[in-house]
Amino acid sequence: MGIGLALISVLGLILFAYVGTAVIGLNALFAIVFPYAAFILFVIGFIYRVVKWGKSPVPYRIPTTAGQHYSSLWFKQNKIDNPSTGLGVVLRMFFEVFAFRSLFRNTKAELLQGRLYIGSSKWLWLGAIAFHYSFLVIFLRHMRFFTPETPWVISLIESFDSFLQVHILGSPLLYITNISILAALLYLLGRRIIDPKIKYISLPSDYFPLFLILGIITTGVLMRYFFKVDVTAIKELTLGLVYLKPVIPKEIGSLFYIHLFLVSILFAYFPFSKLMHMGGVFLSPTRNVANNNRMKRHVNPWEYPVKHRHYEEYEDEFREKMKKAGIPVEKE
C-alpha cells in the first residue's frame, strides 16, 4: 500500500526543486541552505537516534545462536555463527555488516500438492548486496567533488568502477555501479510490487526511499551521460560548501539542483526513517553479543528483586503430607 503516495511525494520534490531554481530562481536556497541543513540534520539526527538506543540497556544476553555452541566437550564450535568470545562476535558482525550473512541464509517456502518445499533463495541477498555496495561506491566516488584534490583511493575506486572502458552515447566512460544500482533498485522495487507478500507488508515509507534514490540516480545518470553539465562549475559549488565559502556558479542548471535537492532530502530523512538500520544493525543484541552465558554472568542494570515462594512457605503448606510420605522436612 502507499506506492502512489510515495511516488507522488518524490515527483513533488522534483517539481519543487525545478520550480524553485528554474522558475523562481532561489538557487541559493537549493545550493546552500538545504544542503547544509540536511547535513546537520543527518549528523545530529543520526547521533541522537543511536544515543537514544544506547540509553536503553541490554538487560539480557540473548544472541540468536546459529551454529554449534562452545562447550568443554569435543564438539567443534561454529565460531562465527555462535561466537563465545569477543573476537568471534567481531567476526560475526563483520560478516553480518559486510556480507549480509543472515540474508544469505534466505530460503523460499512453497506449498505444492499439500507438501512443503524449501529451497535456497539468494536473489534478495544479491539485490541487497548490489544495491548497498553500488551506493557505497557511488558515494565514495562523489568525494572527488568534496575534496580539493581527489585522493588516490577515490581515483582508484573510480577507475575500477569504469574499467570496462565503455562509452555510451559518446563520453564519458560508463560506471558499472550506475547499471548495478539501477538494476538492484528496480529489483527491490519490483519485488515490492510483484510479490504479494511483500506488497502486503509494504508501507509508503518503504517505497519512498526507493523512489527517492531512483530519482537521485536518474538525475545523476542524466547529467553524466545525456545532458552534460559543467562539472568544473559544480565542483566550485561543492567545494565552496566544504570550505564554508559557498558560491553559486551561474553555469549550473536545474537538473543539478534537482539532484542536489533529492540528496539533501535523503540525508535529512535518514535519521527519522527505517534507513537507520545502518546504525541499528550494529546494535542488535541478537547478533552483537557472545553466547557465553553459562561462563560469564551478564548484569542487568535495572534488575529488581521479585516476590517468589520460598521453601519455608512451601513446606508449611505440605509438611504433613511430606512427613507422611517419608520425605525429609526442615521443621518436624
Binding site: G2, R49, K55, S56, V58, P59, I62, T64, A66, G67, Q68, H69, Y70, S71, S72, L73, F75, N82, S84, E96, S102, L103, R105, N106, T107, A109, E110, L111, G114, L116, I118, R191, D195, P196, K197, I198, Y200, I201, S202, L203, P204, S205, D206, K274, H277, S284, P285, T286, R287, R294, N300, V306, H308, R309, H310, Y311, F318, M322, A325, P328
Partner: protein, 536 residues
C-alpha cells in the same frame, strides 16, 4: 471441535495470495475456534498477583478492562522501550524486506498475513509509531501508525498468542530482529491488563504453589517416581530408590514436570533414574524445584524470574555442588540466557565436574548447570556406559531440534552423538528443517492447549512435512527430541500428519540400550513392549 482431514487442512493455504484489504483495515479480528486459547481464570491470576484478575472470556465483547487500560499499555511500552535495547531497536529498524515472511511455521500453515513475523511485529510497531515517533504522529496511517483501540488490543492478543517464540524468523533477519522478543514484550503488555490464557495462567499458578506446572504435590511426586521404579524393576529386575530432597547430595536434578506425568515423557524420566542408578550418581530430586520449565516466561519476564528462583534456592538449601538439567526446550532458554542474570552470582555452588569421568564443564562455570545431553555424551565418550544397540533396532530414528535449545543456546551435536551411539538407525531430516533452521513443533510458548488444535496442526505442518519425508525415504518411525513440550505436542502432531511415527526423549533411547549391572535379560523396552527379537 473436529479437525478437517490432514489432506484438506492446508489445501486452501496459498502463500502467495493476500487479502484485498490492507492489513490495517481488517479489524476487528475474527476469533476463529481452533485458533485461540481460552482466557485465563480469575483465581489463577489472583493467586500470583497478576493485575485485573477476573474470569476472562475471549469472545466476550467486553473484556472487563480497567478504565485507564490504554494509558497502562502506552506507559508499558514506554517503560520497555527504555529497558530493552532489543525492543527499542527492533521497533525502529525493520525495513520490511520480507525475508522473515515465509520462515514462520504459522504463516506456512495458515497463510494468514498477520502470522508473517514482520506483520506480527508491525501490529505493535504501528502503535509504537503513533505514540513515540514523530513520523507516526505526523503521518498517521500513511506513516504506518495506528491509534490504540480495543479492536487493536484484541488483535494484539490474538496474534501474540499465535506465536511460539521459536526465533526462526530472527535467524533470517538481516538485523536479527527477534519476534520472540517482541512477542514476550507484547505478552507482558497484555498481562498488565490480565489478558492471559487459561493454559498458561493455570500452570503458572500451580508452579508457584507446588513448584511444578502440573500441581503435583510432594507426596504425589514421590509415589509417581516410585511407580516408575516399579516398572523399571519389572523391565530390568533392578530396584531403584529415587533420592528425594536429600541434603548434601552432589547434584540436584531438575527436569520439566511433564516428564513425571504422561507418556512418552515418563519413559524419559525412567531413563534418567536408570542412568543415574547405573552410574551410582549422588544426586537428588527436589519436590519444590520440581519444574525446569517455566510458563511464567510466556507471561512476563518478572513472572519467569519468580518461578525460576526456587531452583537455585533449593540447590542452596540442599547444599548440592551443581545442577543437572533434564531435557527441555524453553527451560534451557531461560536457564542459559536469563537465570544467571536474575539470580547470580551463583557463588554457593561449585564449578560442575562429572563425578564419573572427571570432565570439567568449564563452559558452565558461572551458572553451574549442565545439560543431561552434555553429561551423557561425555559419559559415552569415556566409555563408561555399555550398550546393546540391538534393543533399539526396531527404531528408525530422526531427531527434532527444539527451537530454544537450537537458537537460544546452540546444542546440536550432543544429542545426535548420543543417538548414534545407542541406535543403529539414525537419519537426519533435510538441512533446511533442522539445527539452527529447525521448525517449531507448533505448540511452544504455552500454545499446547487442546482448544487451539487446528492452529497447532497447521503450525506443526512444516515439521511434520519433514518427518514425513524421512519416514517415506528411510522408514523413520521414531522422532527423538530433548524437550518436554515436544514430547507432549509432537505425538498428536504425528498422529495427525504421519501416524506411523512415534515420539521419544533421547534419554529413553539411552536407557533402553544401556546394559545395567545385575540386570536380568531384558524382554521389554521401557514402554513395556517386547524388544526386537523377543516378540512372542
Amino acid at each position: 471441535m473436529r479437525l478437517p482431514r490432514p489432506e484438506e487442512l492446508i489445501s486452501d493455504v496459498n502463500l502467495n495470495k493476500m487479502p484485498s484489504r490492507r492489513w490495517m483495515d481488517t479489524l476487528p479480528v475474527e476469533f476463529k475456534p481452533g485458533f485461540y486459547c481460552y482466557g485465563a481464570k480469575g483465581k489463577n491470576l489472583e493467586y500470583v498477583g497478576f493485575p485485573n484478575a477476573r474470569d476472562f472470556h475471549v469472545t466476550d465483547e467486553d473484556w472487563k478492562l480497567p478504565e485507564d487500560w490504554k494509558k497502562i499499555v502506552i506507559e508499558g511500552i514506554k517503560q520497555r522501550i527504555e529497558r530493552f535495547r532489543t525492543f527499542h531497536v527492533f521497533m525502529d529498524i525493520c525495513v520490511r524486506c520480507g525475508a522473515c515472511a515465509d520462515k514462520c511455521h504459522f504463516f506456512i500453515g495458515t497463510a494468514d498475513p498477520k502470522n508473517m513475523p514482520v506483520l506480527r511485529a508491525e501490529l505493535l510497531r504501528s502503535v509504537y509509531r503513533k505514540y513515540f515517533t514523530s513520523g507516526g504522529k505526523i503521518f498517521g496511517k500513511n506513516g504506518g501508525a495506528r491509534e490504540l483501540d480495543l479492536d487493536i488490543l484484541k488483535e494484539l492478543w490474538y496474534y501474540f498468542y499465535q506465536c511460539t517464540e521459536c526465533r526462526r524468523c530472527s535467524l533470517f533477519c538481516p538485523y536479527g530482529i527477534d519476534t520472540a522478543e517482541i512477542t514476550i514484550i507484547g505478552r507482558e503488555l497484555l498481562n498488565l491488563l490480565g489478558l492471559n490464557t487459561d493454559w498458561i495462567s493455570g500452570p503458572v499458578a500451580n508452579c508457584y504453589r507446588t513448584g511444578n506446572h502440573l500441581g503435583i504435590e510432594p507426596h504425589t511426586m514421590k509415589s509417581t517416581l516410585e511407580f516408575m521404579c516399579n516398572d523399571i524393576e519389572d523391565i530390568t529386575g533392578i530396584r531403584i530408590e529415587p533420592p528425594i530432597n536429600k541434603k548434601g547430595a552432589e547434584i540436584l536434578f531438575v527436569t520439566p514436570s511433564g516428564d513425571l506425568f504422561a507418556d512418552p515423557g515418563i519413559y524419559n524420566c525412567m531413563g534418567y533414574m536408570m542412568l543415574f542408578h547405573e552410574l551410582g550418581l549422588d544426586y537428588t530430586w527436589s519436590t519444590f524445584a520440581s519444574e525446569g520449565g517455566n510458563f511464567g516466561f510466556f507471561t512476563s519476564l518478572e513472572m519467569a524470574k519468580r518461578l525460576h528462583s526456587k531452583i537455585y534456592e533449593e540447590a542452596k538449601r540442599l547444599k548440592v555442588k551443581w545442577i543437572l538439567g533434564g531435557e527441555c526446550g524453553h527451560m534451557w532458554r531461560v536457564w542459559h540466557q536469563y537465570h544467571d542474570t536474575w539470580y547470580g552470582p551463583i557463588d554457593f555452588l561449585e564449578e560442575p565436574v562429572s563425578p564419573i569421568t572427571g570432565t570439567k564443564f568449564e563452559h558452565a562455570k558461572s551458572t553451574k548447570i549442565v545439560h543431561i545431553s552434555e553429561f551423557t555424551a561425555d559419559l559415552i565418550r569415556h566409555g563408561v556406559l555399555k550398550f546393546d544397540k540391538r534393543r533399539n533396532d526396531n527404531l528408525i530414528v530422526t531427531f527434532h531440534d527444539s527451537c530454544n535449545v537450537s537458537r537460544g543456546m546452540g546444542m546440536f551435536e550432543e544429542p545426535r552423538y548420543i543417538i548414534r551411539n545407542v541406535c543403529n538407525h539414525f537419519y537426519d531430516m533435510p538441512d533446511e528443517t533442522i539445527r539452527e533452521q529447525t521448525f517449531c513443533c507448533g505448540s511452544g510458548s504455552g500454545l499446547n492447549a487442546g482448544e487451539i488444535m487446528e492452529q497447532r496442526m497447521r503450525g506443526g505442518f512444516p515439521r511434520a512435512n519433514a518427518v514425513r519425508y524421512v519416514h517415506e525415504k528411510f522408514g523413520v518411525n521414531m522422532l527423538a527430541n530433548i524437550c518436554a513440550i515436544d514430547r507432549a505436542a509432537l505425538p498428536p502432531l504425528m498422529q495427525y500428519w504421519v501416524p506411523a511415527v512415534r515420539v521419544s526423549g533421547v534419554t529413553e533411547l539411552v536407557a533402553n540400550a544401556m546394559i545395567m549391572k545385575g540386570e536380568k535379560e531384558r524382554e521389554m523396552n521401557l514402554r513395556m513392549e517386547p524388544l526386537p527379537g523377543k516378540e512372542e
